[in-house]
Amino acid sequence: MKYSRFLTQVSRNRQPSLIREMTNLLAQASPELVFMAGGLPNAQMFPFQAGSITLKDGRALTIHPKLMMDCLQYGPTPGYPPLVKQLKDLTQQLHSPPRWAEMDLIVTAGSQDGLCKALEMMISPGDYVVTQEPCYTGTLSILKPYKPRYLPISGDQNGMCPEALKAALSKWKPEEVQDTEKDVPKVLYVNPNACNPTGVSLPEDRRQEIYKIASEYNLIILEDDPYYFVQFGDRKDFPPSFLSMDVDCRVIRFDSFSKILSSGLRIGYVTGPKPLVERIVLHAQVSLLHAPAMSQVLVSELLKLWGDEGFFKHTDAVQAFYLDQRNAMLEAAEKHLSDLCEWAVPTGGMFLWLKVPKIHDTWDMILERALTKNVILVPGKAFMCDSSKPCQYMRAAFSIVSPENMDKGCKNLAELIS
């Protein structure tokens, strides 16, 4: 594939930092080499010497002095090498990307930072963006300054509708726009699993149809998948990722540890075609330099201690927890809201997407009156590409709230709507 077509001028302008390149010389250098090119501070002067983390299962991660240096010193931009290897192995194991040899991976400060850099790499002001609608607010925040021309694609209880996608793109003939750079859609954004805010997932056949359409129109697919491990059901029944069917090498996939290990550590990772991941690496090189080193080391040591078995045992436990939360939420909703709202059963994640058919727009109801009824949720308008249009939906999160409070919340919500 010709990737330069997808890049903004700013992204094309990016050059590697010579000093970082020179640091690579160290790898092949003789032990006699005196290296005075890097601007590294002396890590011996950093005040933390060692550390220890106790896990909830009682085991401990020891950060001995040498490991503490890895936590505290500058590291390579693509990521702490042991963690990069572990994540590449995990990705290969879970997705077996068909063109793995042409792909690369970078650890980012949360998956959203990767998404932000990917979008900044490809979107110029006024560009088209094809996206699921409703769409995650974080993505809309990234795109807002670019005033994109959205092609919002509606969905149902099985996610984005391929027919709607085809219809939105039908004003162009595939063979005429495949290589065109300006004034054509080039990017497609999708949350395939437990979509934020709708809570639903795309089944396999839809993914294949969507991939085929993206291929026809030569779109890059941004597969934003932070709820991958929080899908309900057996892992072996998980539908295949876009990455796993990526025969063209057009998918950039965003993974996150925020829902299963920690959100505050700020660790996510991006997998994609080498030329595109390289652009993201160059951007990171002159901005945050790399994802926080201690966070990367902790995740790496944890994965090492657990092994595959321990890791999947943990993700199964997280999934089971959110499933219980979902069930409690549905019970509360059925008890109080069955006459007032409609919803699809979430297939993963932490959100319930409620429709209020009798109300034209939930925005004012929530922002002006919800506090008086002691319940807050997010009005659906926040997730729409065109925020001037009314929206009958609202998003309730069931991640942290107790079953008692879910009951109270739904009761209060029923009063609010009435």
Binding site: S17, P41, G51, V286, L289, Y322
Partner: protein
Amino acid sequence: MLIACIVIFKYMNSKTLLCIKGANIGMMDYSKFISKLSSRRKPSCISELRRALDNCSPSLVWLASGMPNPEKFPFREMTVTLEGGKKLTLSKETLSAGLQYGPSHGYLPFRNQLKRMVEQWHAPPRWAESDLIVTVGNQDGISKALDMLLDPEDFIVVPDPCYSDFLCMLSSLAPQIVAVSVDDQGMRPDILQSALEKAISSGSTGIPKALYLVPNSCNPTGTNMGEERRQEIYAIAQQYDLIILEDDPYCFLQFNDKYLPSFLSMDVDGRVLRFDSFSKVVSSGLRIGFVTGPPPLLQGITLHMQASCICPPMLSQVLIHELLTSWGDEGFKKHISDICQFYKEQRDAMIQALKTHLTGICEWIVPEGGIFVWLKVLHLSDTSAMLLERGAKGDIVLVPGREFMVDSTKPSPYMRAAYSCVTPEEMMKGMENLAKLIQKEIELQSTHT
């Protein structure tokens, strides 16, 4: 070294404002500095909803934010051992804070701590109208500040030579660059003035927006900008209405008693964005820096952070906060004193190695802080090929001066050496190797001419 630190903390009373115009009572118009793209950034709807929490009843059922449940995070307890053996155990609440999403502008106790320190060190004249945000390393703050300020046709003023990563940032944004030559104190005011005049009369639709400098132990030249020079530069920034980007990662690595007032400390107009870093004194890998300045400018950076990394790494912030709390002012001063002692000895060993092997071959200014020496080779016009193609074989690697020049096509006889991580023995060996490398290069050049 303790004396230097005491001087730092006593500085706040010194306010000699020789050339700077009287205090601007009103607020600057910041909207003219914001790029078109940045002006379209908006806070997320969910953060607006959070403001509802300010006056809510305890029976409010909060179903709005998509925070993951921290009960499922596998970490239970964390202890770190500090130099000297003291142990810091994070409380349950603190570790919790370290593992969950936090505010985009930084962990509140940490921000408050940093604000107290900034007020103490700089006593900014417009402190009541200033704010402070935490960033993912100070360089991310600078990168986002440039994204916020520069439309493609705008001008940015930089010293020449300049920190290479900053030039890298500019090479992608491609604004118009006003390069200002330096002397042993940094940017020359006369050249700055004439370069700005030229930019303004160029007929461009863009405006000179900002001026970037590293006032202490500048990367790569290692020079410090004197107080009077700083005031002259500030006055010129006033005259041309520029934002000053004060990048100061080496402020704690100063070896002598002469502490120099920051641009923030003389900022009567509210035109300084100051970028501080913990990378040289506490940790580079934790990725924590902070930016101080006028809220309308910090807002643009914060909104971009909100959209990208959501918040600075929480565990890193929590750890540094606990460390600074455990140290108190005295402990911090002692740590800075120890660091300065170490790097001063490194510098002295470096100068010794230079004198031993490179007298008559190179020239250099003795740095009064930081980690770099800027060397000029006397009989070569350019060092790039020598270092990049033959340096590794000669067992010595330095950065060629061209890497730091605004016009990297022109030859440069300079090189930057870092003395932070090499031992005195390695420095001696390295400079001996360098001398041989240069001699070989001179012979190579003369056989070609």
